[in-house]
Protein backbone atom coordinates (compact mmCIF):
# COMPACT_ATOMS: atom_id res chain seq x y z
CA UNK A 1 0.00 0.00 0.00
CA UNK A 2 2.76 2.40 0.98
CA UNK A 3 4.51 1.46 -2.20
CA UNK A 4 1.59 2.60 -4.30
CA UNK A 5 1.41 5.84 -2.34
CA UNK A 6 5.03 6.55 -3.03
CA UNK A 7 4.64 5.82 -6.69
CA UNK A 8 1.63 8.17 -6.87
CA UNK A 9 3.65 10.88 -5.18
CA UNK A 10 6.44 10.46 -7.69
CA UNK A 11 4.14 11.36 -10.60
CA UNK A 12 4.61 14.92 -11.84
CA UNK A 13 1.87 17.32 -10.65
CA UNK A 14 0.76 17.67 -14.25
CA UNK A 15 -0.76 14.18 -14.21
CA UNK A 16 -3.16 15.27 -11.45
CA UNK A 17 -4.07 18.40 -13.37
CA UNK A 18 -4.67 16.19 -16.41
CA UNK A 19 -7.06 13.98 -14.45
CA UNK A 20 -8.92 16.99 -13.05
CA UNK A 21 -9.34 18.56 -16.49
CA UNK A 22 -10.61 15.30 -18.00
CA UNK A 23 -13.18 14.98 -15.21
CA UNK A 24 -14.37 18.56 -15.68
CA UNK A 25 -14.77 18.15 -19.43
CA UNK A 26 -16.54 14.79 -19.17
CA UNK A 27 -19.04 16.31 -16.77
CA UNK A 28 -19.55 19.27 -19.09
CA UNK A 29 -20.18 17.23 -22.23
CA UNK A 30 -21.48 13.69 -22.77
CA UNK A 31 -19.53 13.47 -26.06
CA UNK A 32 -16.24 13.84 -24.31
CA UNK A 33 -15.35 10.39 -23.03
CA UNK A 34 -15.66 8.49 -26.30
CA UNK A 35 -13.26 6.36 -28.23
CA UNK A 36 -13.42 8.58 -31.31
CA UNK A 37 -12.62 11.65 -29.28
CA UNK A 38 -9.67 9.90 -27.68
CA UNK A 39 -8.50 9.07 -31.19
CA UNK A 40 -8.89 12.74 -32.14
CA UNK A 41 -6.86 13.92 -29.20
CA UNK A 42 -4.02 11.57 -30.12
CA UNK A 43 -3.97 12.86 -33.70
CA UNK A 44 -4.16 16.48 -32.59
CA UNK A 45 -1.36 15.99 -30.07
CA UNK A 46 1.09 14.29 -32.41
CA UNK A 47 2.85 17.21 -34.17
CA UNK A 48 3.26 19.20 -30.96
CA UNK A 49 4.38 16.03 -29.19
CA UNK A 50 7.30 15.59 -31.57
CA UNK A 51 8.29 19.26 -31.28
CA UNK A 52 8.12 18.94 -27.50
CA UNK A 53 10.52 15.96 -27.58
CA UNK A 54 12.99 18.22 -29.42
CA UNK A 55 12.43 21.04 -26.95
CA UNK A 56 12.99 18.68 -24.03
CA UNK A 57 16.52 17.94 -25.25
CA UNK A 58 17.25 21.68 -25.45
CA UNK A 59 15.70 22.44 -22.05
CA UNK A 60 17.85 19.69 -20.53
CA UNK A 61 20.91 21.74 -21.57
CA UNK A 62 19.34 24.73 -19.73
CA UNK A 63 18.37 26.36 -23.00
CA UNK A 64 15.19 26.98 -24.98
CA UNK A 65 14.82 26.87 -28.72
CA UNK A 66 12.29 29.47 -29.78
CA UNK A 67 12.90 28.71 -33.46
CA UNK A 68 11.42 25.19 -33.42
CA UNK A 69 7.93 26.32 -34.46
CA UNK A 70 9.38 28.37 -37.31
CA UNK A 71 11.40 25.34 -38.39
CA UNK A 72 8.28 23.16 -38.52
CA UNK A 73 6.47 25.71 -40.69
CA UNK A 74 9.55 26.07 -42.87
CA UNK A 75 9.70 22.31 -43.47
CA UNK A 76 6.05 22.17 -44.59
CA UNK A 77 6.68 25.09 -46.95
CA UNK A 78 9.95 23.78 -48.35
CA UNK A 79 8.64 20.29 -49.15
CA UNK A 80 5.64 21.67 -51.05
CA UNK A 81 7.81 24.33 -52.72
CA UNK A 82 10.25 21.69 -53.96
CA UNK A 83 7.48 19.28 -54.97
CA UNK A 84 5.89 21.98 -57.14
CA UNK A 85 9.21 22.31 -58.92
CA UNK A 86 9.45 18.61 -59.72
CA UNK A 87 11.38 17.24 -56.74
CA UNK A 88 9.76 13.98 -55.55
CA UNK A 89 7.91 14.36 -52.26
CA UNK A 90 10.10 11.87 -50.45
CA UNK A 91 13.34 13.50 -51.62
CA UNK A 92 11.94 16.88 -50.56
CA UNK A 93 11.20 15.48 -47.11
CA UNK A 94 14.78 14.26 -46.71
CA UNK A 95 16.20 17.60 -47.90
CA UNK A 96 13.88 19.56 -45.60
CA UNK A 97 14.71 17.49 -42.53
CA UNK A 98 18.43 17.80 -43.20
CA UNK A 99 18.05 21.56 -43.67
CA UNK A 100 16.20 21.76 -40.35
CA UNK A 101 19.15 19.99 -38.76
CA UNK A 102 21.46 22.54 -40.37
CA UNK A 103 19.36 25.42 -39.00
CA UNK A 104 19.57 23.73 -35.61
CA UNK A 105 23.33 23.47 -35.80
CA UNK A 106 23.59 27.14 -36.74
CA UNK A 107 21.57 27.85 -33.58
CA UNK A 108 23.98 25.67 -31.68
CA UNK A 109 27.05 27.40 -33.09
CA UNK A 110 25.67 30.85 -32.21
CA UNK A 111 24.73 29.73 -28.70
CA UNK A 112 27.86 27.70 -27.94
CA UNK A 113 30.60 29.65 -29.69
CA UNK A 114 29.05 33.11 -29.34
CA UNK A 115 28.03 32.56 -25.68
CA UNK A 116 24.64 34.12 -26.39
CA UNK A 117 21.64 33.35 -24.19
CA UNK A 118 19.82 30.60 -26.13
CA UNK A 119 16.44 32.29 -26.10
CA UNK A 120 17.68 35.47 -27.78
CA UNK A 121 19.76 33.62 -30.38
CA UNK A 122 16.86 31.35 -31.29
CA UNK A 123 14.41 34.28 -31.13
CA UNK A 124 16.48 35.92 -33.84
CA UNK A 125 16.60 32.66 -35.78
CA UNK A 126 12.82 32.25 -35.46
CA UNK A 127 12.37 35.48 -37.37
CA UNK A 128 14.99 34.66 -39.96
CA UNK A 129 13.37 31.28 -40.70
CA UNK A 130 9.87 32.78 -40.71
CA UNK A 131 11.05 35.35 -43.20
CA UNK A 132 12.37 32.65 -45.53
CA UNK A 133 9.07 30.74 -45.36
CA UNK A 134 7.11 33.91 -46.10
CA UNK A 135 9.37 34.79 -49.02
CA UNK A 136 9.05 31.27 -50.51
CA UNK A 137 5.24 31.41 -50.36
CA UNK A 138 4.58 35.16 -50.73
CA UNK A 139 2.79 34.91 -47.41
CA UNK A 140 0.01 32.47 -48.29
CA UNK A 141 -0.42 28.68 -48.20
CA UNK A 142 0.91 26.61 -51.08
CA UNK A 143 -0.51 23.26 -52.23
CA UNK A 144 0.71 20.08 -53.85
CA UNK A 145 -1.75 17.16 -54.03
CA UNK A 146 -0.53 13.74 -52.92
CA UNK A 147 -1.88 10.52 -51.43
CA UNK A 148 1.02 10.36 -49.01
CA UNK A 149 -0.72 12.78 -46.63
CA UNK A 150 -3.78 10.59 -46.27
CA UNK A 151 -1.60 7.53 -45.77
CA UNK A 152 0.22 9.12 -42.83
CA UNK A 153 -2.90 10.56 -41.16
CA UNK A 154 -5.50 7.86 -41.87
CA UNK A 155 -3.85 4.50 -42.46
CA UNK A 156 -3.57 2.50 -39.27
CA UNK A 157 -1.37 -0.25 -37.98
CA UNK A 158 -2.67 -2.11 -34.90
CA UNK A 159 -5.52 0.45 -34.73
CA UNK A 160 -3.02 3.28 -34.32
CA UNK A 161 -2.64 5.89 -37.08
CA UNK A 162 0.71 6.06 -38.86
CA UNK A 163 1.45 9.58 -37.60
CA UNK A 164 1.09 8.44 -34.02
CA UNK A 165 3.51 5.62 -34.83
CA UNK A 166 5.97 8.22 -36.09
CA UNK A 167 5.67 10.04 -32.76
CA UNK A 168 6.20 6.77 -30.90
CA UNK A 169 9.32 6.03 -32.95
CA UNK A 170 10.68 9.53 -32.31
CA UNK A 171 9.95 9.05 -28.61
CA UNK A 172 11.86 5.77 -28.54
CA UNK A 173 14.74 7.35 -30.45
CA UNK A 174 15.01 10.33 -28.09
CA UNK A 175 14.59 8.11 -25.04
CA UNK A 176 17.38 5.80 -26.16
CA UNK A 177 19.64 8.72 -27.05
CA UNK A 178 19.09 10.36 -23.66
CA UNK A 179 19.28 7.24 -21.49
CA UNK A 180 21.57 4.85 -23.31
CA UNK A 181 24.14 6.82 -25.28
CA UNK A 182 27.16 8.89 -24.33
CA UNK A 183 25.74 11.81 -26.27
CA UNK A 184 22.62 11.68 -24.05
CA UNK A 185 24.69 11.66 -20.88
CA UNK A 186 26.51 14.70 -22.23
CA UNK A 187 23.23 16.51 -22.96
CA UNK A 188 22.15 16.03 -19.36
CA UNK A 189 25.64 16.99 -18.20
CA UNK A 190 25.41 20.25 -20.13
CA UNK A 191 22.47 21.26 -17.99
CA UNK A 192 23.95 19.99 -14.75
CA UNK A 193 27.56 20.96 -14.44
CA UNK A 194 29.42 22.24 -17.47
CA UNK A 195 32.74 22.63 -15.70
CA UNK A 196 32.67 19.01 -14.61
CA UNK A 197 31.93 18.05 -18.18
CA UNK A 198 34.90 20.01 -19.47
CA UNK A 199 37.11 18.49 -16.75
CA UNK A 200 36.04 15.03 -17.87
CA UNK A 201 37.50 15.87 -21.25
CA UNK A 202 34.15 16.31 -22.98
CA UNK A 203 33.84 19.27 -25.31
CA UNK A 204 30.73 21.25 -24.22
CA UNK A 205 30.72 23.38 -27.38
CA UNK A 206 30.63 20.40 -29.71
CA UNK A 207 27.94 18.66 -27.71
CA UNK A 208 25.78 21.76 -27.50
CA UNK A 209 25.94 22.18 -31.28
CA UNK A 210 25.04 18.52 -31.69
CA UNK A 211 22.07 18.90 -29.34
CA UNK A 212 20.64 21.84 -31.28
CA UNK A 213 21.17 19.98 -34.56
CA UNK A 214 19.39 16.94 -33.09
CA UNK A 215 16.47 19.14 -32.03
CA UNK A 216 16.32 20.64 -35.51
CA UNK A 217 16.26 17.16 -37.01
CA UNK A 218 13.31 16.16 -34.80
CA UNK A 219 11.52 19.43 -35.60
CA UNK A 220 11.99 18.48 -39.26
CA UNK A 221 10.14 15.20 -38.66
CA UNK A 222 7.40 17.17 -36.90
CA UNK A 223 7.26 19.31 -40.02
CA UNK A 224 6.59 16.28 -42.22
CA UNK A 225 3.80 15.11 -39.93
CA UNK A 226 2.33 18.61 -39.86
CA UNK A 227 2.44 18.81 -43.65
CA UNK A 228 0.46 15.56 -43.88
CA UNK A 229 -2.10 16.89 -41.41
CA UNK A 230 -2.70 20.27 -43.03
CA UNK A 231 -2.01 19.00 -46.58
CA UNK A 232 -0.31 22.26 -47.56
CA UNK A 233 2.77 24.35 -46.95
CA UNK A 234 1.80 27.06 -44.48
CA UNK A 235 4.39 29.66 -43.46
CA UNK A 236 2.84 30.27 -40.03
CA UNK A 237 1.19 26.92 -39.28
CA UNK A 238 3.39 26.19 -36.26
CA UNK A 239 3.71 29.72 -34.87
CA UNK A 240 3.73 29.51 -31.09
CA UNK A 241 4.40 25.77 -30.92
CA UNK A 242 7.89 26.44 -29.63
CA UNK A 243 6.38 27.98 -26.55
CA UNK A 244 3.73 25.31 -26.09
CA UNK A 245 6.59 22.83 -26.31
CA UNK A 246 8.54 24.68 -23.60
CA UNK A 247 5.42 24.73 -21.46
CA UNK A 248 4.82 21.00 -22.01
CA UNK A 249 8.45 20.23 -21.16
CA UNK A 250 8.37 22.23 -17.93
CA UNK A 251 5.02 20.68 -16.98
CA UNK A 252 6.49 17.25 -17.62
CA UNK A 253 9.00 17.81 -14.87
CA UNK A 254 12.09 18.79 -16.85
CA UNK A 255 13.81 21.58 -15.01
CA UNK A 256 15.25 24.69 -16.64
CA UNK A 257 17.79 25.05 -13.87
CA UNK A 258 19.58 21.79 -13.22
CA UNK A 259 19.46 19.33 -16.08
CA UNK A 260 16.90 17.05 -14.48
CA UNK A 261 13.90 15.40 -16.08
CA UNK A 262 13.31 13.58 -19.29
CA UNK A 263 11.21 12.98 -22.28
CA UNK A 264 8.56 10.74 -20.66
CA UNK A 265 7.08 13.53 -18.54
CA UNK A 266 6.83 15.73 -21.62
CA UNK A 267 4.10 13.42 -22.98
CA UNK A 268 1.84 14.40 -20.06
CA UNK A 269 2.57 18.08 -20.67
CA UNK A 270 1.59 17.85 -24.34
CA UNK A 271 -1.54 15.85 -23.50
CA UNK A 272 -2.58 18.50 -20.97
CA UNK A 273 -2.33 21.29 -23.56
CA UNK A 274 -4.07 19.24 -26.27
CA UNK A 275 -6.84 18.05 -23.97
CA UNK A 276 -7.59 21.62 -22.94
CA UNK A 277 -7.78 22.70 -26.59
CA UNK A 278 -9.92 19.72 -27.57
CA UNK A 279 -12.19 20.08 -24.54
CA UNK A 280 -12.89 23.76 -25.18
CA UNK A 281 -14.01 22.84 -28.70
CA UNK A 282 -16.23 19.99 -27.55
CA UNK A 283 -17.84 21.97 -24.76
CA UNK A 284 -18.54 24.62 -27.40
CA UNK A 285 -16.51 27.58 -26.18
CA UNK A 286 -16.45 30.24 -28.92
CA UNK A 287 -13.16 30.30 -30.80
CA UNK A 288 -12.41 33.91 -29.94
CA UNK A 289 -12.14 32.96 -26.24
CA UNK A 290 -9.89 29.97 -26.77
CA UNK A 291 -6.49 31.64 -27.15
CA UNK A 292 -6.79 33.55 -23.89
CA UNK A 293 -8.16 30.53 -21.99
CA UNK A 294 -5.48 28.11 -23.24
CA UNK A 295 -2.74 30.65 -22.57
CA UNK A 296 -4.01 31.26 -19.03
CA UNK A 297 -4.36 27.56 -18.22
CA UNK A 298 -0.85 26.83 -19.48
CA UNK A 299 0.56 29.79 -17.56
CA UNK A 300 -1.30 28.69 -14.43
CA UNK A 301 -0.06 25.12 -14.79
CA UNK A 302 3.60 26.18 -15.18
CA UNK A 303 3.15 28.49 -12.22
CA UNK A 304 1.65 25.83 -9.94
CA UNK A 305 4.44 23.49 -10.96
CA UNK A 306 7.13 26.08 -10.19
CA UNK A 307 5.57 26.97 -6.84
CA UNK A 308 5.35 23.29 -5.83
CA UNK A 309 9.02 22.87 -6.70
CA UNK A 310 10.09 25.94 -4.74
CA UNK A 311 8.01 24.77 -1.76
CA UNK A 312 9.39 21.24 -1.82
CA UNK A 313 12.94 22.62 -1.83
CA UNK A 314 12.30 24.76 1.22
Amino acid sequence: MNNIKQKLKALPPVSWMLLLIIIVFSLASPNYLTFSNFHNILIQATPLMIVAFAQTCIVLTQGTDLSLGAQVSFVTVLIVYLAKRGVPLFAGMVIAVLLAAVIGSVNGIIVAKGHILPFIATFGMQNIVNSISLLLTSGSSIYYPSYTYRFVTEATFLFIPMMVWIAILVFIMVWIVLKKTKFGTNIIGLGGNREALALAGINPVKNLIKTYAFAGFIAGIAGIVTLCRVESGQPTVAAGWEFQAVAATLLGGTSLREGKGGVTGTIFGVLLITIVKNGLNIVGVRSIYQNAIIGSIVLLAILIDAVIKIRSKE
Binding site: T64, I110, G114, H115, I116, L117, F119, I120, A121, F123, G124, M125, Q126, N127, I128, N130, S131, I132, L134, L135, S138, G139, G240, F243, V246, A247, L250, L256, I288, Y289, Q290, N291, A292, I293, I294, G295, S296, V298, L299, I302, L303, A306, V307, I310
Partner: protein, 315 residues
Amino acid sequence: MMKFIEGIKRSKSFYSLIGLIGLVIISSVIAPNFRTLNNMITILRQTSVLLILSSGLTAVLLTGSMDLSVGATAGFIGCICAKLIKSGVPISVAFIIGIAIGALVGFINGTLAGILPSFIATYATNWVMSGLAIIVMNGAVIYDLPKNFTKLGVGYVGPIPVLVIIAAVIVVILYVLLQKTTYGRQVYAYGSNAEAAKYSGMPIKKIMKSTFMICSICAGIAGMIITARLNAADAAMGDAYGLQTVAAVVIGGTSMLGGEGGVGGTVIGAMILTIIVNVMNLKGVSSFAQPMVVGIVIIAMVLFDINSKMKKQFD
Protein backbone atom coordinates in the same frame (compact mmCIF):
# COMPACT_ATOMS: atom_id res chain seq x y z
CA MET B 1 39.63 66.98 -24.52
CA MET B 2 41.27 63.57 -24.95
CA LYS B 3 39.61 62.48 -21.75
CA PHE B 4 36.22 63.48 -23.13
CA ILE B 5 36.78 61.49 -26.33
CA GLU B 6 38.01 58.51 -24.32
CA GLY B 7 34.85 58.73 -22.20
CA ILE B 8 32.63 58.59 -25.26
CA LYS B 9 34.64 55.76 -26.71
CA ARG B 10 34.28 53.70 -23.58
CA SER B 11 30.50 54.09 -23.39
CA LYS B 12 28.60 51.14 -24.73
CA SER B 13 26.50 53.17 -27.13
CA PHE B 14 29.58 54.51 -28.92
CA TYR B 15 29.57 51.78 -31.56
CA SER B 16 25.82 52.09 -31.98
CA LEU B 17 26.25 55.80 -32.65
CA ILE B 18 28.96 55.16 -35.25
CA GLY B 19 26.65 52.53 -36.76
CA LEU B 20 23.83 55.07 -36.96
CA ILE B 21 26.01 57.68 -38.66
CA GLY B 22 27.34 55.10 -41.12
CA LEU B 23 23.83 53.88 -41.82
CA VAL B 24 22.56 57.41 -42.55
CA ILE B 25 25.43 58.00 -44.99
CA ILE B 26 24.93 54.68 -46.78
CA SER B 27 21.16 55.18 -46.92
CA SER B 28 21.42 58.63 -48.47
CA VAL B 29 23.69 57.22 -51.16
CA ILE B 30 21.66 54.15 -52.09
CA ALA B 31 18.20 55.72 -51.76
CA PRO B 32 18.01 59.28 -53.10
CA ASN B 33 14.54 59.85 -51.67
CA PHE B 34 15.91 59.05 -48.22
CA ARG B 35 17.36 62.57 -47.99
CA THR B 36 14.09 64.45 -48.38
CA LEU B 37 12.73 66.42 -45.42
CA ASN B 38 9.43 64.58 -45.79
CA ASN B 39 11.13 61.24 -45.34
CA MET B 40 13.04 62.51 -42.30
CA ILE B 41 9.77 63.47 -40.65
CA THR B 42 8.31 60.09 -41.63
CA ILE B 43 11.27 58.37 -39.95
CA LEU B 44 10.79 60.43 -36.80
CA ARG B 45 7.10 59.52 -36.75
CA GLN B 46 7.83 55.85 -37.33
CA THR B 47 10.47 55.83 -34.62
CA SER B 48 8.19 57.38 -32.02
CA VAL B 49 6.04 54.35 -31.23
CA LEU B 50 9.07 52.05 -31.20
CA LEU B 51 10.90 54.53 -29.00
CA ILE B 52 8.15 54.60 -26.38
CA LEU B 53 8.04 50.80 -26.28
CA SER B 54 11.78 50.27 -26.23
CA SER B 55 12.55 52.95 -23.62
CA GLY B 56 10.22 51.09 -21.28
CA LEU B 57 11.76 47.74 -22.11
CA THR B 58 15.22 49.19 -21.41
CA ALA B 59 14.32 49.44 -17.72
CA VAL B 60 13.45 45.72 -17.65
CA LEU B 61 16.62 44.67 -19.49
CA LEU B 62 18.76 46.74 -17.15
CA THR B 63 17.68 44.45 -14.31
CA GLY B 64 18.74 41.44 -16.39
CA SER B 65 15.15 40.35 -17.08
CA MET B 66 13.21 40.19 -20.30
CA ASP B 67 9.70 41.19 -21.35
CA LEU B 68 8.51 39.51 -24.53
CA SER B 69 4.92 40.68 -24.04
CA VAL B 70 5.22 44.38 -24.98
CA GLY B 71 3.76 43.99 -28.48
CA ALA B 72 0.65 42.14 -27.38
CA THR B 73 0.20 44.40 -24.35
CA ALA B 74 0.29 47.46 -26.61
CA GLY B 75 -2.26 45.88 -28.93
CA PHE B 76 -4.56 44.83 -26.08
CA ILE B 77 -4.58 48.25 -24.41
CA GLY B 78 -5.00 50.01 -27.74
CA CYS B 79 -8.08 47.86 -28.42
CA ILE B 80 -9.60 48.55 -25.00
CA CYS B 81 -9.13 52.31 -25.36
CA ALA B 82 -10.61 52.30 -28.85
CA LYS B 83 -13.61 50.41 -27.55
CA LEU B 84 -14.05 52.77 -24.57
CA ILE B 85 -13.76 55.92 -26.69
CA LYS B 86 -16.15 54.53 -29.28
CA SER B 87 -18.72 53.88 -26.57
CA GLY B 88 -18.55 57.50 -25.41
CA VAL B 89 -16.01 57.49 -22.59
CA PRO B 90 -14.07 60.81 -22.52
CA ILE B 91 -10.62 60.52 -24.10
CA SER B 92 -8.74 61.55 -20.96
CA VAL B 93 -10.56 58.93 -18.88
CA ALA B 94 -9.81 56.24 -21.49
CA PHE B 95 -6.19 57.29 -21.42
CA ILE B 96 -6.00 56.95 -17.65
CA ILE B 97 -7.71 53.55 -17.78
CA GLY B 98 -5.19 52.46 -20.42
CA ILE B 99 -2.27 53.47 -18.22
CA ALA B 100 -3.83 51.75 -15.21
CA ILE B 101 -4.25 48.51 -17.17
CA GLY B 102 -0.62 48.84 -18.28
CA ALA B 103 0.47 49.14 -14.66
CA LEU B 104 -1.60 46.09 -13.74
CA VAL B 105 -0.15 43.99 -16.58
CA GLY B 106 3.34 45.04 -15.55
CA PHE B 107 2.64 44.14 -11.95
CA ILE B 108 1.49 40.67 -13.02
CA ASN B 109 4.54 40.23 -15.28
CA GLY B 110 6.88 41.34 -12.53
CA THR B 111 5.28 39.02 -9.99
CA LEU B 112 5.47 36.06 -12.39
CA ALA B 113 9.09 36.91 -13.23
CA GLY B 114 9.92 36.44 -9.56
CA ILE B 115 8.80 32.79 -9.81
CA LEU B 116 9.53 31.77 -13.40
CA PRO B 117 12.35 32.80 -15.77
CA SER B 118 11.11 36.17 -17.03
CA PHE B 119 11.18 35.35 -20.72
CA ILE B 120 8.98 32.29 -20.19
CA ALA B 121 6.54 34.16 -17.98
CA THR B 122 6.23 37.05 -20.42
CA TYR B 123 6.00 34.77 -23.46
CA ALA B 124 2.98 33.26 -21.70
CA THR B 125 1.43 36.63 -20.86
CA ASN B 126 2.05 37.60 -24.49
CA TRP B 127 -0.14 34.67 -25.46
CA VAL B 128 -2.84 35.64 -22.95
CA MET B 129 -2.76 39.33 -23.93
CA SER B 130 -3.19 38.64 -27.63
CA GLY B 131 -6.03 36.28 -26.71
CA LEU B 132 -7.67 38.99 -24.60
CA ALA B 133 -7.31 41.48 -27.45
CA ILE B 134 -9.26 39.08 -29.70
CA ILE B 135 -11.98 38.83 -27.05
CA VAL B 136 -12.20 42.62 -26.63
CA MET B 137 -12.52 43.12 -30.37
CA ASN B 138 -14.97 40.23 -30.71
CA GLY B 139 -13.36 39.35 -34.01
CA ALA B 140 -14.10 42.73 -35.57
CA VAL B 141 -12.21 45.95 -36.30
CA ILE B 142 -13.03 49.35 -34.80
CA TYR B 143 -12.49 52.40 -36.99
CA ASP B 144 -13.46 56.06 -37.34
CA LEU B 145 -12.34 57.33 -33.96
CA PRO B 146 -13.00 60.94 -32.86
CA LYS B 147 -10.66 63.63 -34.28
CA ASN B 148 -9.51 64.72 -30.83
CA PHE B 149 -8.10 61.27 -30.24
CA THR B 150 -6.50 60.66 -33.64
CA LYS B 151 -4.72 64.03 -33.25
CA LEU B 152 -2.36 62.18 -30.90
CA GLY B 153 -1.17 60.10 -33.80
CA VAL B 154 -1.41 62.36 -36.82
CA GLY B 155 -1.58 65.92 -35.44
CA TYR B 156 1.13 68.57 -35.47
CA VAL B 157 2.24 71.28 -33.05
CA GLY B 158 3.76 73.78 -35.47
CA PRO B 159 6.02 71.67 -37.70
CA ILE B 160 6.54 68.87 -35.16
CA PRO B 161 4.26 65.80 -35.06
CA VAL B 162 2.46 65.39 -31.72
CA LEU B 163 3.61 61.81 -31.28
CA VAL B 164 7.24 62.83 -31.64
CA ILE B 165 6.72 65.23 -28.74
CA ILE B 166 5.04 62.51 -26.64
CA ALA B 167 7.91 60.12 -27.37
CA ALA B 168 10.50 62.76 -26.50
CA VAL B 169 8.80 63.52 -23.18
CA ILE B 170 8.69 59.83 -22.24
CA VAL B 171 12.32 59.31 -23.21
CA VAL B 172 13.42 62.30 -21.12
CA ILE B 173 11.38 61.14 -18.11
CA LEU B 174 12.85 57.65 -18.29
CA TYR B 175 16.36 58.98 -18.87
CA VAL B 176 16.17 61.15 -15.76
CA LEU B 177 14.54 58.38 -13.74
CA LEU B 178 17.16 55.78 -14.64
CA GLN B 179 20.30 57.94 -14.73
CA LYS B 180 19.74 60.68 -12.17
CA THR B 181 17.81 59.17 -9.28
CA THR B 182 18.53 56.75 -6.46
CA TYR B 183 15.92 54.46 -7.93
CA GLY B 184 17.83 54.38 -11.22
CA ARG B 185 21.08 53.53 -9.50
CA GLN B 186 19.30 50.70 -7.68
CA VAL B 187 18.06 49.33 -11.01
CA TYR B 188 21.62 49.32 -12.37
CA ALA B 189 23.02 47.84 -9.17
CA TYR B 190 20.46 45.04 -9.20
CA GLY B 191 21.20 44.30 -12.85
CA SER B 192 24.95 44.12 -12.45
CA ASN B 193 24.93 42.00 -9.31
CA ALA B 194 21.64 40.73 -7.94
CA GLU B 195 23.23 38.97 -4.97
CA ALA B 196 25.16 42.03 -3.84
CA ALA B 197 22.05 44.18 -4.23
CA LYS B 198 20.07 41.74 -2.12
CA TYR B 199 22.60 41.71 0.70
CA SER B 200 22.94 45.48 0.69
CA GLY B 201 19.28 45.58 1.67
CA MET B 202 17.68 46.85 -1.51
CA PRO B 203 14.03 45.92 -2.03
CA ILE B 204 14.97 43.83 -5.06
CA LYS B 205 11.54 42.33 -5.69
CA LYS B 206 9.99 45.80 -5.68
CA ILE B 207 12.66 47.09 -8.04
CA MET B 208 12.05 44.29 -10.52
CA LYS B 209 8.27 44.66 -10.36
CA SER B 210 8.52 48.40 -10.84
CA THR B 211 10.64 48.03 -14.01
CA PHE B 212 8.04 45.68 -15.46
CA MET B 213 5.33 48.20 -14.57
CA ILE B 214 7.25 51.01 -16.29
CA CYS B 215 7.61 48.78 -19.34
CA SER B 216 3.94 47.85 -19.57
CA ILE B 217 2.75 51.43 -18.93
CA CYS B 218 4.93 52.51 -21.85
CA ALA B 219 3.43 49.67 -23.88
CA GLY B 220 -0.04 50.95 -22.97
CA ILE B 221 0.76 54.49 -24.10
CA ALA B 222 2.31 53.14 -27.29
CA GLY B 223 -0.78 51.01 -27.92
CA MET B 224 -3.06 54.03 -27.66
CA ILE B 225 -0.83 55.99 -30.02
CA ILE B 226 -0.76 53.13 -32.54
CA THR B 227 -4.57 53.17 -32.46
CA ALA B 228 -4.65 56.93 -32.93
CA ARG B 229 -2.22 56.73 -35.85
CA LEU B 230 -4.16 53.98 -37.60
CA ASN B 231 -7.49 55.64 -36.74
CA ALA B 232 -8.55 52.04 -36.12
CA ALA B 233 -8.02 49.17 -33.70
CA ASP B 234 -7.35 45.59 -34.62
CA ALA B 235 -6.45 42.72 -32.30
CA ALA B 236 -3.17 41.95 -34.06
CA MET B 237 -1.87 45.50 -34.46
CA GLY B 238 0.81 45.24 -31.76
CA ASP B 239 2.26 41.89 -32.79
CA ALA B 240 4.85 43.27 -35.19
CA TYR B 241 6.34 45.46 -32.49
CA GLY B 242 7.39 42.67 -30.13
CA LEU B 243 10.56 41.69 -31.98
CA GLN B 244 11.45 45.22 -33.05
CA THR B 245 11.29 46.47 -29.48
CA VAL B 246 13.70 43.82 -28.22
CA ALA B 247 15.94 44.54 -31.21
CA ALA B 248 15.98 48.30 -30.64
CA VAL B 249 17.06 47.93 -27.02
CA VAL B 250 19.76 45.38 -27.82
CA ILE B 251 21.08 47.35 -30.81
CA GLY B 252 21.32 50.40 -28.56
CA GLY B 253 23.90 48.60 -26.46
CA THR B 254 21.87 47.60 -23.41
CA SER B 255 23.23 44.27 -22.26
CA MET B 256 20.94 41.24 -22.06
CA LEU B 257 22.70 40.37 -18.83
CA GLY B 258 21.66 43.58 -17.09
CA GLY B 259 23.38 46.54 -15.50
CA GLU B 260 24.83 48.06 -18.65
CA GLY B 261 23.44 50.43 -21.25
CA GLY B 262 20.58 52.87 -20.98
CA VAL B 263 17.80 54.85 -22.60
CA GLY B 264 20.29 57.00 -24.56
CA GLY B 265 21.54 53.97 -26.44
CA THR B 266 17.99 52.77 -27.00
CA VAL B 267 17.16 56.01 -28.82
CA ILE B 268 20.03 55.26 -31.21
CA GLY B 269 18.92 51.63 -31.52
CA ALA B 270 15.35 52.60 -32.37
CA MET B 271 16.62 55.06 -35.00
CA ILE B 272 18.89 52.44 -36.59
CA LEU B 273 16.08 49.93 -36.80
CA THR B 274 13.58 52.41 -38.21
CA ILE B 275 16.04 53.61 -40.83
CA ILE B 276 16.79 50.03 -41.92
CA VAL B 277 13.06 49.32 -42.35
CA ASN B 278 12.50 52.71 -43.99
CA VAL B 279 15.24 52.14 -46.57
CA MET B 280 13.95 48.63 -47.25
CA ASN B 281 10.55 50.18 -47.96
CA LEU B 282 12.03 52.90 -50.18
CA LYS B 283 13.95 50.27 -52.11
CA GLY B 284 10.84 48.14 -52.51
CA VAL B 285 12.16 45.15 -50.57
CA SER B 286 9.35 42.71 -49.72
CA SER B 287 7.98 43.25 -46.22
CA PHE B 288 8.36 39.49 -45.70
CA ALA B 289 12.13 40.00 -45.67
CA GLN B 290 12.03 42.50 -42.82
CA PRO B 291 11.93 40.00 -39.93
CA MET B 292 15.01 38.32 -41.42
CA VAL B 293 17.02 41.54 -41.43
CA VAL B 294 15.89 42.39 -37.92
CA GLY B 295 16.70 38.87 -36.71
CA ILE B 296 20.19 38.99 -38.21
CA VAL B 297 20.84 42.42 -36.71
CA ILE B 298 19.77 41.20 -33.24
CA ILE B 299 22.04 38.15 -33.33
CA ALA B 300 24.95 40.18 -34.72
CA MET B 301 24.60 42.90 -32.08
CA VAL B 302 24.38 40.44 -29.19
CA LEU B 303 27.39 38.52 -30.51
CA PHE B 304 29.29 41.79 -30.71
CA ASP B 305 28.20 42.78 -27.19
CA ILE B 306 29.26 39.49 -25.63
CA ASN B 307 32.56 39.41 -27.50
CA SER B 308 33.55 42.91 -26.42
CA LYS B 309 32.64 41.99 -22.86
CA MET B 310 34.79 38.88 -22.93
CA LYS B 311 37.70 40.85 -24.37
CA LYS B 312 37.38 43.26 -21.47
CA GLN B 313 37.64 40.37 -19.05
CA PHE B 314 40.91 39.28 -20.62
CA ASP B 315 42.42 42.79 -20.60
